[in-house]
Structure formats: structure tokens, C-alpha cells
Symmetry: D3
Subunit: 193 residues, 6 copies
């Protein structure tokens, strides 16, 4: 199916019989439903990308709904292949991104309903529910397969784990913290496709 | 300001003193407010792009809120520099896009709250409120300056107008229809930046 | 064959045995012959793109010959994936394109033999023979598969047709015109690959 | 003027007053006139690119007319930033391009009026008039500033000249040939913008 | 100077007098000298990019030399705008990168002199000297301004600091660790341009 | 294997079971060994690109080691799909590139250990060992499959050969030189993948 879609709309060769493509290939349903926030970060990401919406292939865009309980956090993460624009549909979020070395400036902002915030390509960013009720946001990303690298999950929860010595030097923390705490915890699994 | 932003995050040269960039350059407020739908098409587009959100510059993405009264229509249009992903926040929309010659297939779909629909680059598409109440949708586009070409406005409402003979042949319609109706009407102005 | 070509010249992996590629894969013959203009618009487009010239694959360019009888029209259309440069080989053409909302400015010009005109990405444009004899033009486009969306064919001749209500609102025209005229006519089929 | 054009049609910020752009910025005149072939190669290239047609800026395309006397040659050259599609308007041309190491295959073809030939990005290619009369071709290139590197002019006619030792080793030729012949000749100046 | 370079070699308009560009604009000297590794991570990055080698502008590439004392670490970091290819000139390095959620797979490898390793766009990666002597590597990156985001510096050393609550939830660590250790330490400044 | 890699890290669809990708797909060994310079140009290029390092696929970068005996020459050549950054590891090299018509300026420089030089896209360039001992350089290129077109090999050593008449006119040289010398010699085969 995806092959057909690519052929129809992209700079490839014509497809002689693209008759099997249908409107449903450009359709996804269910972004009105909150994700399951029963996890360590009290937040949930519901992603709509080329894996569940084949018509996005080659179009360079995707979307996600993010739900937050009070004090829910979309933890510091980065998209290796995308910039992001975020719209708050409900609640109050503290959002921010950090620039590259050497400045590592934090650009942060409190967002309310109807507010929009932008994150440049590949920068580490987060959203945190600082309001009293639940919060909901919609993000659009500049790739049909943007990728998500949650910093904690990648650095302390990789499989296999990163060599202890590396983490100890990198974060100036001791063996015990690395081994018994950071690398032995279950890192949150809060993203659904 | 924009110059600074480009320099900070893009593949250009470093800026020695980008100290004037601030979080507000990546922020826009007001997308929770309905647009003014008191016009011929009973619909309103509120666009958030590089013209009112400078931090989008070079990031290749923008956003829009679209409001519809009952029977409100975002009329057939195309974005010369962007593909689109659309999310229905409220109401029921009939949406569709038409493929290139020679097939000119219409891919259409009725969307409800939480449904998502995709439009490939440059194709003519529309959204029409077929529900009983108001409808609201959020669109994200793959350009910080996607452009909107409303077919009626461009073909029949250009300034100066297109030569009558051309329109008569192109649409097989008579002089009277072209002159006294199509080219003399006020084409809807329903997009706000 | 196309697969081989891609592998030979593009940023993919080497092909161990691309021996089957031959000069004819980069060759097309027949653009000296006028297209058949016996149709409603008295014009004919003969397109040379990746569908009939496989060597164009991945190169981002294609070509077309356009023939016009007197009063022949290449009707308002847009290329969803390409900008265009047009050269008049013979005759006198009125050409133009219309910019995006809100200005919808028409940039038009009378062209004679040897004149060149440019159309930016995705804008609606046309060429009309205003001379006494036949006219011929050569266009080059920035995609090996640029697509052509003839406005009339797409908006009024799609399969299935667009909902009448949408067309009536969009163009402020009545049912009768939509149903008995615009949607029941045979839209011109003037493009050959 | 160019600045305005960029702002109007590209993914940059809106321009508040692009009123100075006019149709003539998208127009070039004179490609019906043969170039001056009174030179060593009996050929002439008349180039239409962003230097003399500002509306091409950011559009990634340009055009050229090439005139040939009998035995006229557009000598081996390459475009560092473009692929090419060539159409013969008149006469008979031997054309060819050579692939990369290690194969260095020559793909050559005799073209007649109406024939089209394609040259992938950056490959060395040539056109040679093997017919009895004059020949004319139109080329389109995938850049508004494609560049032309004529091999002889660059290797043997650079300013300052390349060190003799390098040329002697590279081409296994002797000092005398390099100094008194190749580097002392006037290399053809056959391209006009 | 940079402006001239851009104009000379890129798809912009011709420059009438680019005479001021000189060979030195494409030249950088000093990558034979070890960086100063007297810092917390016992490693040093000497970067050659558009900031100190203007001729790189628009070319999409840059280079760096990385020096390591024994147990020296180029700590986990990512390039928001670049992929990387790394060559070991001397010594023995443990290198690795981690893939996106949900797998977070670590791809690691011990490299010796003459070994090459690749890191895809935006992924977190590191190099650690596990040999007995000093080590040296050369990296090339796919941007003239790739950016470096050292994870520790960005997450725990940003200016201003990220809200404690966010870090506590994200890394499941306590206030004391965040405030008195991670956020109060001086994060390494080991990169020179 | 390559297919898996593409799917994992690029903007394509997710791969459900990319479990076969392994660290070795991102690894190449042996760039510490000199290439065999026993050839006409006394130089050798050892290329590391997508053909022998599959993890480079889609990443737009590759690397090469170049060895030179005294008076060894990497002869005038161009990369049809890449710009280049070169680092001298050992010895003294005369390097240069030539700009496009009409100026054909030679930008040349003597490089020593630790010096870096840049070559824009598609320009003809060379490196020549003007020192007393051997020389070694590392080049990085902006494509995983940059291509190498050695001017002599392509122009005088193509298979089949270019028509004599073309070479005689292009280089103003006589039949004898073309037939008995340039086209009958064995052009150097100095590049290994």
C-alpha cells in the first residue's frame, strides 16, 4: 500500500495501476481519546506517524497527542529527525528547550490553552503540567518518522546498558547511583503508536 | 530578530552574540479563540506561520486553526509549498483532495472529532462542515510559509482579472457568467494571519 | 531498468552489475511532432517525464512540448511538485500566473518567439494563443514527475464528483450550473505522455 | 528585486510590501537569436539563468540555447550543481556523457530534431554537430546557477595555470606540450549570459 | 567574505566581482595539535566548522579532532543537525550510539587505529579511551554548523537551570542529588572552535 | 541489511523487526594501512563509502584515505555529487581547485600536517605531494556515494573512446597525440573501495 502511495504522489515513476490506494490510507481515527497516563511520568504520548497512517509516507510531517495528569511530565527528549510545533488544547504547561554548547541556554515558557511553542531540530525539550487539572497538547513534527529519544531511557536504560565508567565520568556520579538506581530502574514506557 | 534565529539553529555561521533571542520568539498566543466566520463561506482560518511566529523560520512547519459554522466551507484550495495533516477537534467535516491528471480522483472522507486526514503536496482540497453544530480543526503544514491559493479567488478574483476568453474556454462558460457573476463578485477573505 | 539507473547515479549503494543500463535509457524521440489539438481547448501537451524517459529518475527535471491552434489554451493549471520555465518556439502567447492569498496578483505577459517566462512552484498559470497562426512552446519543470492539475478538470470533473453544496458555496453558483453544465461536461483530455 | 522575489515565493518570511515585483522579473527575451559561433569550437551557448532572469531565484531551474556550425562542438564540460535535459530543435548532434570511475563508460547517441537526451548530475558530457547544416539545441538545467566547467579551460587554461608537473603526470604528456601548446593557447570563450 | 563565498559556489545569483575571495578562505591550520585535555572528562574536541573556516559555508560538512588521555571520555552527546563518521588515528576507543524509543538499543564497538564508525543523525553517542595510552580520532559531520549537545551540560547545566521537579521525575532522583550535586557542579567545557 | 538500516534511521516507515541490524554494519576497518601506490600517479585512494560500509546509507557522508609517494599525484578529478574537506595527516601537499567559467580561477595552497582544505561541489581539484617523504591525507565527502571522475580517465580513457574529432577540437591537439598517445595509454587505476 505504501509503495503505491509513494508512487502516486512523489517524484518517482508513474504507477500504471494505483487503483488500490483509497481514502482510508490518508486517515487515522482516535486522537480524541486520552492516552493512558498510569505510569511514572503521569503523561502519555499518542503518536500518528507513517507507522499507523501510511499516507504520510514521503510527506515529511506527523502528529502526536500528549496527555498529562497534574504534575505529569513529557520528560526531556529530542527528535533526531524533526523540529516541532506544539499547541496547548487544555491546561497549563511549563515548556522549554535547551540550545547547543557552549551556551546551553534554557528557553522556557508557561503555556495556557491556545498557546503555541516551537522547538528547533534535534534540541532537548520537555513539557510539564504545572496546572491543577489535566492538560492536553497537540504536536506536529517535520518528519513522517521523527523518532523520540527520551534522554533518561537512552542514557540510563539502553539495552545493553552503557559501561558504568562512562556514566560515572559523564555525570560525575558514583557506581552505586548508576548501578542500583539509574540503570536498575524501569524507565517509563509512555509512548504509543 | 529573525536573522538571529536563523543563525542560532540553522546550518549557517555561528553568531557571536545571539543574546537578543528570547523564548517569546518561539511563542504565539490565541489559537484557542474562534476566527470570525461572518463571511460568504461561514468559515475562518487563523494561520500561525513565520509572519507572526518568527521562531518558525527555517523550521519548515506551521499551523492553522479553522473554524466552521454549520455549512461552513474552507473552499477548494491548494498550498503551493506544503503538504498538510488535519485534526478535527470538534464537529463533523467532509474533507477531500483530488489527484493530478488524468485521473482526477476524489479521495473524500467524513471526519469526526479526533480524526486525522492527510493532503499530499500541492493537491486541491477542501473541508466542509456537514454537522449540526460548529466545527473546529487544527492543520499543520510542511512549510513556515506554505501559501494558500483559494481556487475561486485566484481564478476568478485575481487582480487584474484573467482575460475573459481564457476563462470561457477553460470552463466552457459564457461571457455573462464570467463578467457579471464570477468576476464581479467579492471573493471571500476568510484567512487571518 | 529504472532501479539500475537509480543505483548508478544517485546517492544509493553501488550496483555490482549495472551493465544493462544503456544510452537509450537516457533518450526520448518525437518532440518535433505537434500534439493533437483536436479538442475543446485547441491545445496539446506532450510530456517527457520519468514515465517515458526512465533516465530522468532521481534527476528532478522533465520537459513538455505544448502546441496551440489559434485561440488554443493550456487552461489554468498547477504543478503540485514543480516550478516551470517556458520558451516560445513559435507564435504569440499570453501567459500568466496568480500569486497566493490574499493578493492573488496576476502576473501576465505577451510572449513572442524566443521569449522565456517563469512560474514559481505550485502557482496556477496558463498559456493562451493570441496570435494568428499556430504556436509552440517548450516547458522544463523541476521534477521528473511534476504532476498536472488542470483546475477545471479537478474541481468540476473529479471522479467521483465533489458534493454540489461545496461547489455552490465555493463559486457562488447555482445548482443548475453545477449539475447540468460544469459537472456534466466532458473536461478536456489534452495531455499525452 | 531578487530579495523581493525570494520573499514572495519561498519558505522565508512574508514581505509586507512586495509591490515592486513585476511580470518582467519573470521574463527574458531573445532566445530565438543564434549565438555568435565565430570561435575555435564553432559553437555558442546563450544561458538564461538567475543572472539575467531574476525570477528564477530559488526555483532550481535554468535554460540555455546552444548553436552549432557544422563540426561545431560544445566541448566536454560538466555542471557542478545540475543535471541536464537537452532537446534538439534543428540538425544532427552526437551527444554523450561518461560515468564515474572505475568504469568510465561513454553513453553516446546521435540525436536528430525532436530528440531528447539526459545527463545526470556532474558528469562530463559534450554535443557535437555531425550534420551538414547548422544545429540548435535547448537545454534545461536543475539549478538557477548551474555553473559550467569546460574541461580544457579549467585544466589547461586556469588563472593562474596549474603547476606543469601536475599536468605532465596526470595526462602523461611532456613539458613542451603543456607549456607551449595547451597552456599557451587561448581557450574558447563561447558562453554568453 | 562569507557572502562572497556563498555567491560563488551556491545556487544563488552570480556575483559580479567576487575577486576578494582567496584560497585562505578555504583553509584552516592546526589540526595536528592535541587539544587541552586538562578537564573533568580528560578529553578535548577541536572543531573546524564555518565559524573558523568560512569556505565551508553552504557545503554541509565540517570536521573535528578529538583527543583523549587514558580514561578520557567524549561524553554522551548528540548533533542536532548532523550525522557523523569517525576515524581512529591512534589508541583504542569504546564507541557507541543508542537508537530511538522504544528499543533504545546500544550499538557499541571497540575501535583501534584505522577503524571507522558511523553515527546516524541526532542519536546520542560517546567515545571512551579504554587503551593504555592517549587516543586521537577525526570526525566528519554532515553540516557546516552541526551543533553539539552534551547531555549532562544541557540537562543539568543549562542556564537558567531546569525546574528541579522536572529533573526529579524524569530521572527518578531526589532533590539533594539534583540541587547539591548535578546542578551545582561545573559541567565540562572541553570543546574548542 | 541496507534495507534494514534505511528503515531504522531514516524518514521511512518503521520496521517491525529490525533485529538483524548490528554494530558491525556501522563499522569499517583498515584505514590505517597505506594504499598501494605502485602505479603511474604514485598515489592511492582507499575509499570508505556505502559500498563497503552499509551503515552510511542515507547519511550523506563518506571518507577516504589518500597515500602519496614523493611526487605522487591525486590527479585532477571531480565528485559529481559531493563537496570535500581534506586533512593532511603527514607530509606536504600542493592542493587546488578551479572555479567555473568564465573565470576558471585556480585556488591553490601548500598544505602541511594538520592543515585542512575545502573543495566546493563538483569543482575540479587535485593534491600533489611536493614534500620529500610520503604524504597521507584524509578526505570526507558529502555523499555516501560521491563518485570520482578522474578527468584524464574520463575524457581520454572512456569505454568506448570519445570520437577523435571531438577531442581534437576540444583540446586543439592533433590526431596522433589523441590516437597514439592519450587514447592508447592505460589510465591509472588508483582507487580502491
Amino acid at each position: 500500500m505504501i509503495l503505491y502511495l509513494v508512487v502516486l504522489f512523489v517524484n518517482g515513476e508513474f504507477c500504471k495501476d494505483p487503483i488500490k490506494v483509497k481514502a482510508d490510507d490518508f486517515f487515522f481515527s482516535g486522537l480524541n481519546k486520552p492516552g493512558n497516563t498510569s505510569n511514572q511520568v503521569r503523561a502519555a504520548v499518542t503518536a500518528v506517524n507513517v507507522a499507523n497512517l501510511p499516507g504520510l509516507n514521503t510527506l515529511g510531517i506527523s502528529m502526536a497527542r500528549i496527555d498529562f495528569e497534574p504534575k505529569g511530565l513529557n520528560p526531556p527528549h529530542e527528535h533526531p529527525r524533526a523540529a516541532e510545533i506544539l499547541l496547548v488544547l487544555k491546561g497549563t504547561l511549563e515548556v522549554g528547550f535547551i540550545t547547543s554548547n557552549p551556551d546551553n541556554r534554557l528557553f522556557a515558557k508557561i503555556l495556557h490553552e491556545g498557546d503555541v511553542f516551537v522547538v528547533p531540530f534535534g534540541l532537548i525539550h520537555f513539557q510539564y503540567n504545572v496546572g491543577k487539572g489535566d492538560a492536553v497538547a497537540i504536536a506536529a513534527l517535520t518528519s513522517q518518522n521523527p523518532g523520540v529519544i527520551t534522554i533518561g531511557n537512552a542514557v540510563f536504560g539502553s539495552k545493553p546498558p552503557i559501561n558504568d565508567d562512562i556514566l560515572k565520568i559523564a555525570f560525575q556520579i558514583d557506581n552505586k547511583l548508576v548501578d542500583y538506581h539509574l540503570q536498575s530502574r524501569i524507565w517509563p514506557d509512555y509512548i504509543r503508536n
